[in-house]
């Protein structure tokens, strides 16, 4: 132990109460930072998980073209001199299916960055049950692939996804929708398409994803049944859902696929930009509040160090007279500040962990639309490392100014009285 740290240690121990108060400031700041960030990140993760349980990483589909810059009207008049203006153009009649869907799927299967692919045929329908008629949508899928994409097995409240394969005309229905239609397992429901065709299906499973708009409107049916219902052939597919090995790559990959196949490819972040935005808002809020807390703790340290140094003017003068240089004085007082910060931060991390752990065991108020049992909390080492770093940087900055001031004290002025 150097003589400087010896003196610093003695100063800290001589004023235990003051040391403790300064330390508690840091402890509280860091603890709140850990608690807030763990909780906010937990909420973010929950939102993202919920979102990803209903949104594929990349959704490839045939969007209605809204590009009216080219017109064949010019060809019709075949007059180079004439200026042709078309008022109020309307989209031409198109089939919204993806041409050569099987070719694209086979091509996608060769891509190493893609984990799963699920082809989809989606259409608007009316659900009829007795005299009740509800607007909704059905997804015609290969249920095995779709289950892999969204982990459907864990979302089933009754039945299993594979029931769809063992039944001729089965339907997996959203829990909310089934409740509205008063449907139970094994009940029959009839669907009517906007074109007027209809089909009767048997409920073989109920699922609950945790998002009201999906649970109240969506059902899964075998792809072949939907193709039959719509009177289309076996190759008629409107969407391809893709799951990547790393969903952070979705933005880049989507652009690549869109260019390659010339269909619209939408990544999950774009499709859920409101969720991404609210995550960002929460992140910013967390950091702003946490940094405010730590800055306040920093001011606490600054005050206490200033007070200590004002009380120790004589001691500083005498140390300087005896041959302690300015850098020794800085070291003596800065090390006190850093010690307060380090110990405060360590206790803060412990307190923060305990509080977050406690919060993760508090039951979340029951809600039909949110599948949360407890408050969502994540435990990430990175948060604790950040807390520790900030717990050292704050007292360093807060302690530096008073320490430098101390090192500049003119001993003559004080010793002469």
């Amino acid at each position: 132990m150097t003589v400087d740290t010896f003196i610093a240690q003695r100063h800290l121990l001589a004023n235990k109460k003051q040391t403790l108060v300064a330390m508690l400031g840091v402890t509280f700041g860091i603890a709140m930072f850990i608690l807030m960030i763990s909780f906010m990140m937990g909420v973010n993760k929950f939102m993202e998980d919920t979102m990803l349980s209903s949104t594929p990483d990349i959704h490839i589909y045939n969007d209605i073209k809204t590009d009216y810059s080219v017109s064949i009207a010019g060809d019709y008049y075949n007059d180079k001199q004439a200026l042709i203006i078309v008022h109020h153009p309307k989209p031409k009649q198109v089939t919204l299916n993806i041409k050569n869907a099987h070719g694209i799927i086979n091509d996608l299967r060769k891509d190493a960055t893609i984990a799963h692919i699920s082809p989809l045929l989606s259409t608007q329908v009316f659900y009829n049950y007795g005299s009740v008629q509800i607007n909704g949508a059905i997804n015609g899928v290969n249920i095995i692939e779709e289950a892999k994409l969204f982990d459907l097995a864990s979302k089933m409240t009754e039945g299993v996804p594979e029931n769809l394969l063992s039944t001729d005309k089965g339907i997996l229905m959203g829990q909310g929708l089934a409740d509205k239609l008063n449907l139970k397992m094994g009940d029959m429901v009839s669907l009517v398409t906007p074109k007027g065709t209809s089909m009767r299906l048997r409920v073989v499973g109920l699922f609950k994803i945790g998002i009201g708009t999906i649970d109240n409107t969506r059902s899964y049916v075998n792809l072949a049944n939907v193709q039959q219902l719509m009177g289309e052939d076996k190759s008629y597919i409107t969407d391809i859902n893709v799951k990547l090995n790393d969903n952070k790559m979705a933005v880049i990959k989507a652009a690549e696929l869109s260019k390659k196949y010339n269909y619209k490819a939408e990544d999950w972040e774009t499709a859920n930009s409101s969720v991404t935005a609210s995550n960002l808002v929460r992140d910013v809020l967390t950091y702003v509040v946490s940094i405010t807390l730590l800055v306040v703790a920093g001011f606490g340290i600054y005050n206490i160090m200033n007070m200590t140094i004002n009380n120790k003017m004589k001691d500083i003068a005498i140390l300087k007279a005896q041959g302690f240089a300015g850098k020794d004085i800085v070291q003596i007082f800065l090390s006190q500040s850093l010690f307060i910060g380090l110990l405060g931060a360590l206790f803060g991390e412990l307190l923060g962990f305990l509080l977050s752990y406690a919060l993760s065991n508090v039951p979340f108020p029951h809600n039909d639309f949110i599948s949360l049992k407890y408050f969502p909390v994540v435990f990430m080492p990175a948060h604790y490392i950040f807390g520790l770093v900030f717990g050292l940087v704050t007292p360093f900055v807060a302690g530096l100014m008073p320490s430098l001031k101390a090192s500049k004290i003119d001993p003559v002025a004080i010793l002469r009285g």
């Binding site: 004589k314 041959g323 240089a325 010793l415 002469r416």
Partner: protein, 224 residues
């Protein structure tokens, strides 16, 4: 005799609140092992002179040479190191560090010098305290000691790095006559038996009359 301290054409001004020529062209030298009080009326500049000699105050014109080393113009860090090795201080108000025991107070300058291991420093500091009959109080907090006791601890501290010069600013200013006599005897012994130069500012005429030589100051000049 060897010269311990030499001053050439020392001039100092106080610039606040208005220019005041406090030390006017002072030159003198002090030999090794001399006990020299500096006396004079309040405001004659004797304390100012002492703080210039001690290297704590560097704002002056002229030259100060201590132990054949020109200290004028050295950086603050070099001066700190120089004081640590060569100069022992004794002040009027004792100025011990209150959080430390008497022994620790004595040890600190030696720990700063870092020339010997801690155990040796402790033994040597104890020896110095014994020399000043303070060994019985070694492990008491310095704030619990009486004024005379504190001053003796401060002298022990000034001696711990075996300095060649002791500088004292009114070392007996706060002491009763018994303790004053004690401090005088200690300084006398240091100068005459251990060859340490002692320069002290004092008001105490008894103190001054028994010394080897007196530097008397008046109005910023030395009276010869």
């Amino acid at each position: 005799m060897n010269v311990a301290l030499k001053v050439e054409h020392l001039n100092k001004h106080f610039r606040q609140p208005e220019d005041f020529h406090v030390l006017q062209d002072i030159s003198f030298s002090i030999n090794k092992g001399e006990f020299v009080p500096i006396i004079g009326k309040s405001g004659c500049g004797k304390s100012t002179l002492l703080y210039l000699l001690s290297t704590l105050d560097t704002d002056y014109d002229g030259k100060i040479i201590i132990n054949d080393t020109l200290v004028t113009g050295k950086s603050q860090n070099e001066l700190a190191q120089f004081r640590n090795e060569n100069i022992g201080f004794v002040f009027q108000f004792h100025f011990l560090l209150p959080e430390f025991t008497a022994l620790e107070n004595v040890m600190l300058p030696a720990l700063k010098l870092g020339r010997y291991p801690k155990e040796e420093i402790e033994a040597y500091a104890m020896e110095k305290l014994k020399q000043l009959q303070m060994d019985g109080f070694a492990h008491k907090l310095s704030s619990k000691l009486s004024g005379g006791q504190q001053q003796r601890v401060a002298i022990a501290r000034a001696l711990v790095n075996n300095p060649t010069i002791i500088m004292a600013d009114e070392p007996t200013g706060n002491l009763d006559s018994g303790n004053t006599k004690l401090v005088f005897d200690i300084f006398n012994d240091l100068a005459h038996n251990q060859g340490i130069t002692v320069v002290t500012v004092t008001h105490d005429m008894d103190f001054a009359n028994n010394a080897d030589r007196v530097i008397e100051m008046a109005d910023g000049k030395i009276k010869l």
